[in-house]
Symmetry: D2
Subunit: 329 residues, 4 copies
Amino acid sequence: MSWLETSIMARRGVARGEARSEHAITEKTQGKYHYVYGPYAKPVLTVQPGAVVSAETHDAFEGAIKSETDRPSEKLNFPYLNPQNGPIYVEGAEKGDTLAVYIKSIVPRGPQPCGTTCLIPEFGGLVGTGDTALLNAPLPEKVRKVEVDPVKGVKWSDKITLPYEPFIGTIGTSPEIEAITSLQPDYYGGNMDLPDVAPGAVIYLPVNAPGALLYLGDCHAAQGDGELCGVALEHPTVTTVQIDLIKGWRFKWPRLETAERIMTIGSGRPMEDAARIAYRELVRWMAAEYGFDELDAYMLLTQAGRVRLGNMVDPKYTLGASIAKSLLA
Amino acid sequence: MSWLETSIMARRGVARGEARSEHAITEKTQGKYHYVYGPYAKPVLTVQPGAVVSAETHDAFEGAIKSETDRPSEKLNFPYLNPQNGPIYVEGAEKGDTLAVYIKSIVPRGPQPCGTTCLIPEFGGLVGTGDTALLNAPLPEKVRKVEVDPVKGVKWSDKITLPYEPFIGTIGTSPEIEAITSLQPDYYGGNMDLPDVAPGAVIYLPVNAPGALLYLGDCHAAQGDGELCGVALEHPTVTTVQIDLIKGWRFKWPRLETAERIMTIGSGRPMEDAARIAYRELVRWMAAEYGFDELDAYMLLTQAGRVRLGNMVDPKYTLGASIAKSLLA
Amino acid sequence: MSWLETSIMARRGVARGEARSEHAITEKTQGKYHYVYGPYAKPVLTVQPGAVVSAETHDAFEGAIKSETDRPSEKLNFPYLNPQNGPIYVEGAEKGDTLAVYIKSIVPRGPQPCGTTCLIPEFGGLVGTGDTALLNAPLPEKVRKVEVDPVKGVKWSDKITLPYEPFIGTIGTSPEIEAITSLQPDYYGGNMDLPDVAPGAVIYLPVNAPGALLYLGDCHAAQGDGELCGVALEHPTVTTVQIDLIKGWRFKWPRLETAERIMTIGSGRPMEDAARIAYRELVRWMAAEYGFDELDAYMLLTQAGRVRLGNMVDPKYTLGASIAKSLLA
Amino acid sequence: MSWLETSIMARRGVARGEARSEHAITEKTQGKYHYVYGPYAKPVLTVQPGAVVSAETHDAFEGAIKSETDRPSEKLNFPYLNPQNGPIYVEGAEKGDTLAVYIKSIVPRGPQPCGTTCLIPEFGGLVGTGDTALLNAPLPEKVRKVEVDPVKGVKWSDKITLPYEPFIGTIGTSPEIEAITSLQPDYYGGNMDLPDVAPGAVIYLPVNAPGALLYLGDCHAAQGDGELCGVALEHPTVTTVQIDLIKGWRFKWPRLETAERIMTIGSGRPMEDAARIAYRELVRWMAAEYGFDELDAYMLLTQAGRVRLGNMVDPKYTLGASIAKSLLA
């Protein structure tokens, strides 16, 4: 946890990046899961900065797809998809602050095979969809159930085993007055499906509503860039995060920090808008806090910026833009 | 009102397209206006199909821009923009039904000059925005106040007078569980900014929540295709609509009918997705209800479809696709 | 022809908008038709400003689709599609000038049924394509042959007859050093598929290469906005245009003038870029030549601009933005 | 060079991936550089498969920007930008074949500081452009000249040195009949600006014209993902490639192979279309040559695909999609 001691969370957080209390959200204490990010739900938990919270997350289908003979179109009931734990009310959090969430660990739970991916009609990156509305016939439905083991990895097939590289697909704070489907990523986080939101990273989320109202869910055991068919390796987990609060740090879109890099996260359509958002936020961050002239930052990122494509399938596409901390010194 | 007697509303509506009761929503009875389309607000009015409702609408700025020396960036308080009347609860309306709203009249109200347009930083069709995020400096702010008279028209300048061609910029039903900013157009209607939503037309809106929960506001005295700078000729009005209910007519996106045409309305980004949605809905409507083979409808629209660009400035762009009724006989 | 006497072509053209000579390009004198817009082909004709030229155009398939049982995928040989007449070398035309082309008439030619539309695999506005590359199976191929009569109209079916509203689908000058497929619209014109490029209008095309090198072809007997399935009512014609030259009138994208309106034409992807191009050009035209402040023009177009969607199927999408001349006085 | 012996080039190439002859293209033997990719230029060199060719490339500005006080808008003369070496005629290459180009080395040449980046008005990823046409004022022009040393790296500033990670920004074959600006990437390669096209990789390019007609230029000393401001670290080089020919291997878009991965490269607008092209090509490649069912490949890439953003600034955006060879066994 060494780098964490020098993180923005540690340097600027109300709790100084320290773990000060422990909490659990079980399926039972969560009760009803949520399908929107908004301020209209009652908090399931209220914590102080410094809280470490373990949450029993469902997979994106709330476990409805149990076997490879299930048909997603019959099992799934839009808009009751992508169930979220929370909201967690963080005391002291107000509009204009930033919530820091350090991702401590993600562990699979539930009976094997606990991993699920599938093809859902009119959803995915290489098919016509509800938004890219076409007359072509949809692809056939298809379900794949796989065993997920933190050590042995994701058993894709007899020949192929993928490493277990879990991350949180959907995490964010509440909008101020909107309540937006948990299928969508946006300025408050949400369904970004960005593999960098993984154990060891800190994600910084703008606070828009009193108490921040943190939601999370939709953990993936593995995912390629873009989450091509729309369904990563979904699985239920126990996910543990540590929450801190940075007063008066105000920005528009989520940010992320790891030992080596800082990243800004943009979501939009078309995809170039997601890239523009992410990179503009990074330019402005470098200018505001790292001593760069804005145009110099723009030119340096031209030579040294990195892009990670999160999803190319959700209502908005998500991209992360980053730069090595070593270039910021 | 002759064509209306043969409209879909008249043929299939619970109230047979008849006006059966009268209601008014004044500024006073409305009280707090709304900034999201969602199911979490208490209805301001409950009506039966056949209700005629007159509503005192605010302009999109709730009157905050009073003079040409006002600066929009100082007067406007995001997300408290585009105030909406409603919601109106329509008895008997359930998910899977359709609300029919016949627009009877729009009349300006309030002291002159009651029309407002302006340039808002980082908003508009020919500037970098929050979504198309760029480093260029924003344009200067600028406000124009104009007199609006239903007969004499819109007095743009000493030399230029535009005809008064009012329409409802924002109208729609509630999503099932989401509450979405009234700045956004989507599958339930919302901020479409489509000039065809004008007196004499019937708009058909899918019902997603019990009672439909109709909202409306944001009337424009004039608007070009695309609402280029983002702010049409905004003005406060008394807007009168007649509401009917079509049970079991289920579709995804708003539809519109006039004496001569039927239209489907799509909203999305990039703009081609809005066009795809609108045209696919039209193809499917022609196939489902007018006896066309789907591919024949596709080919006929290639020769005879018409497109109206509503907005190119809102969180989703809006386009209407239409065909003459005379080609459907 | 009265309005033409007050047109920009008449006021600023080298030939003052007068018809001064007559020329014909027959199938025979054309010989080989062209499939790119570029400077590498030998002119088929050299004329002075004031030339009236009648050209025997082929349909977009060079007549290869002869019956409703033909399969487009077998008959069409990419990239040898959309055959163009020309190039016509206009004496005196240099980079930085503008070619004015008044469209005098379009008349169908050849044996009936001379009109063709069809569904081509992976091409069209509501299907996956080579650019919007998807895994869905393509739609079935389908051909429709129709009779086209200038008076009786386009006999679509026993029940439906469409008016004969012909226009030039593809017209433009040569790029300076590029040679671009005639399937593409761009800054020099090309395959815009914009129904306003019709008899009675003058199109203004930027000159990029010596002699301008005018190409044209691909006339449509009817077309809806967007040319939805990708194939309008294609037909072979005799098309007659009058060519003039405006020295030193320099702009980037095609412009068009009718009795009532001026229009700018943009082509791009995504579609909003086509709209941005068209509207920015119109703002700048109004500022440069009609006495508007640029921001005033932007605001006026917000209330009074009109958009025509040409195509949503070609390598770039095309939109025309226009304003009534009566608002420019 | 071990992996190369197992490469597709070695296994299927006419020259079996062997270096069989050596050639040089100097500034002098090149003479006139080229600004379009097309079949209308005379080959500068004719070779057999197995040829190793060293070319003296110019930077993208042909050396016109010599100092930090130069103004790009004055020094650059569109469309005479991005000068290319070639074309190289490869004997035996016909439409339907594939050219394999192994990139052996890239070495800077010319006096220091030989590296250039700059801000060009209306060009770049975070500004309004000719395509994303806006009314905002452009950013200031700015030039940065930097020393480039293969060992010491790229001296960005006193504090920041970037590693020398050179690659070929622009490389491709000729279209069949088009001649397209060397600023554009497309199905034949061109200005992809993808950092993976680097020493040690083999790029596979579809042959569209007799002799393939290989062009290359525009080498970058360093570049971030997306080439944000539009101008990477441009520098003149001696670039050495080995050319082979694979008969009858037919595909539409460029492919790339390294020791660890296979990649497909798509270019398009909006950016999601580039991603769709790249991933669809990869799905189809896995299905055609690696024994995958197409839907299985689609699902596996969802968990294990990787995306590299080449450029977000050129006339088409470029993305590479890849998968580890270890997952294909």
